[in-house]
């Protein structure tokens, strides 16, 4: 399946030889170098790396929010040219519209007066377990609840891929692990392709079918580790801990050479 020429392929998302250069007054900085990644339909990929490794930049490129880069990004064999609802995006903060209630935030520019929209919104409110809060305003929600609204808003548009940029980074540990379970639930029900950026090792191993480890200066993919554990995973299990250590070791390899080769450009 890998090595296939772009055209017809089972890969929903193809990232080919992507380079990204930030132009700064002090000189150009290479943020991403030679990124190659193929994501299968329905796959859950977690992207992990130290801050400054360009993982969020990569996600913005895939989302179409950043269009100045070299290389190819293909979604269902079509090049990405700008943001669209096919690429759902969850920001680090929920970014809800404060003047809209939960249900209207999820509906966004769709009218709740249409029976089909109404039905779908109710469905997704149930999916993210927010029944009873349809008419609440964002200021009345906790951080976890607000992020669930944002997830429902993206999923309602039936995206081909859901891009998540450290979505649970601002939540407390308890809420975070709960949200991870909610997200896995959703994934198992909807089989939405997920590309999840995080700097949390446990999160990466708990969620991902494959963990992509990135290295900074210039940002590139160090290695891709498959996590062959069945869902639901147990964080305390010995095989989980083994894999966690394996990723951590890769992670440490990432940190070390950074100092001797990390000249940037």
């Amino acid at each position: 399946m890998y090595g296939m020429v772009s055209g017809m392929s089972a890969d929903t998302l193809i990232i080919e030889q992507v380079n990204k250069i930030f132009q700064a007054p002090t000189g150009n900085v290479m943020a991403l170098k030679g990124i190659d990644l193929r994501v299968r339909k329905g796959e859950f990929i977690t992207l992990i790396g130290p801050s400054g490794c360009g993982k969020s930049t990569l996600l913005k490129i895939v989302a179409g929010l950043d269009t100045s880069y070299e290389g190819n990004v293909l979604l269902n064999d079509k090049p990405v040219s700008g943001p669209s609802i096919e690429k759902g995006f969850i920001f680090q903060e929920p970014r809800l519209f404060p003047w809209l209630t939960v249900e209207k935030n999820i509906a966004g520019n769709l009218s709740l007066k249409q029976a089909a929209v109404r039905k779908k919104v109710d469905e997704f409110i149930e999916l993210v377990r927010l029944q009873g809060f349809e008419k609440a305003y964002p200021r009345e929600l906790s951080g976890g609840m607000a992020q669930r609204v944002a997830i429902a808003r993206a999923l309602l548009r039936n995206p081909d891929v859901l891009l998540l940029d450290e979505p649970f980074g601002a939540l407390d540990a308890f809420t975070r692990s709960h949200m991870q379970e909610v997200l896995l639930d959703i994934w198992q029900n909807n089989r939405t392709t997920m590309l999840f950026v995080t700097h949390d090792l446990d999160e990466a191993v708990f969620l991902g079918e494959r963990v992509v480890i990135m290295n900074p200066r210039p940002g590139h993919i160090r290695s891709i580790l498959p996590i062959d554990l069945p869902f639901p995973r147990k964080r305390t299990g010995s095989s989980f801990q083994e894999l966690r250590t394996k990723v951590l070791r890769e992670f440490e390899k990432v940190e070390e050479p950074e100092f001797d080769t990390g000249a940037g450009i």
Binding site: A63, L65, G82, P83, S84, I85, K87, G88, F89, F91, E93, R95, F97, P98, W99, L100, G108, N109, G132, Y137, P138, R139, R153, A154, R157
Partner: protein, 286 residues
């Protein structure tokens, strides 16, 4: 959610309605007290004033008692004179406000959306903004005569700026991160305006409307005092020349009441439309 927890235990059910009743009573009491607090200061002033007048400490030509002013108000209302002049004044203020306010809103939206438009017209508008009514009024009278046109234009000139400045500010302070959300959700240009920019700048637009209405009344008084044969401003000016101080007071009170009334109307509307806002309401609000 709280109620759910309470009603789970069977024993707690009969106690709940009573508790809710008590809570409503308390809330009503707080509301009532808050309203009363607002009236306390003016009430005390009026009482002291009336007492001082009744004791003969005040010259009735310069400062008539509240009771005399009240009697004058009742008299002027009963002859229909006051209502007629108030109607004329309100009509002028409304027309001027609508003309100036809508132009201000439109200009604010235009300049808010376009950086080029801001460069082009904002400096000139800011210069015009600082011109006082009294400096402009003679020119308007020269150009348009003593008729309605000059009055309405003077009011419109005043109402234009608060709405212009605040609409502009409102649009420019829309959270950039929400624009990213709008892009990801594929909002059309129309969606962007109607679903993001307008609601986000509504608090500022409302502030602009309230300030514009206030300025409209201000402009009205200037216009009617400068030369007019009708309106509340005319009543005040006319009474002044005959030293009918009670009538002057009635005119002032009517201006104050109508001004407060129109402001409250907009504030009420604001409260209904901006219920989503989460902002500081004062540290001692209970």
């Amino acid at each position: 959610m709280l109620q759910e927890g309470i009603s789970k235990g069977a024993v707690a059910i009969p106690a709940e309605p009573m508790r809710r009743q008590k809570r409503i009573d308390r809330r009503f009491l707080i509301k009532f007290t808050n309203a009363l607090i607002g009236w306390m200061v003016p009430l005390v002033i009026v009482m002291v004033w009336q007492a001082a007048g009744a004791l003969g400490w005040l010259n009735p030509i310069l400062l008539p008692t509240p009771l005399a002013i009240w009697n004058e108000l009742v008299h002027l209302t009963s002859t229909g004179e006051l209502i007629q002049h108030l109607g004329i004044s309100s009509w002028r203020a409304l027309l001027g406000f609508l003309l100036g306010g809508s132009l201000g809103l439109a200009a604010g939206i235009w300049v808010g959306f376009s950086y080029k438009a801001e460069r082009l017209v904002d400096p000139s508008l800011q210069m015009l903004r600082t011109l006082p009514h009294l400096a402009i009024a003679p020119l308007f009278i020269l150009w348009f005569g003593f008729g309605e046109t000059s009055k309405i234009l003077l009011i419109a000139k005043g109402s234009f700026f608060p709405l212009y400045v605040n609409t502009f500010l409102g649009i420019r302070s829309v959270d950039n991160r929400l624009f990213d959300v709008a892009r990801v959700l594929q909002f059309s240009r129309w969606d962007l305006i109607l679903r993001l920019i307008v609601p986000a700048s509504l608090p500022n637009i409302f502030l602009g409307i309230r300030l514009s209405i206030g300025v409209a009344w201000l402009g009205l008084v200037v216009a009617e005092l400068m030369g007019s044969s009708s309106g509340i401003g005319y009543i005040i000016n006319d009474a002044r020349s005959f030293s009918w101080t009670t009538v002057v007071f009635v005119g002032i009170i009517v201006f104050a009441l109508v001004g407060k009334l129109s402001d409250s109307l907009v504030k009420w509307l604001e409260g209904r439309l901006l219920r989503w806002q989460d902002s500081y309401k004062g540290g001692d609000k209970s």
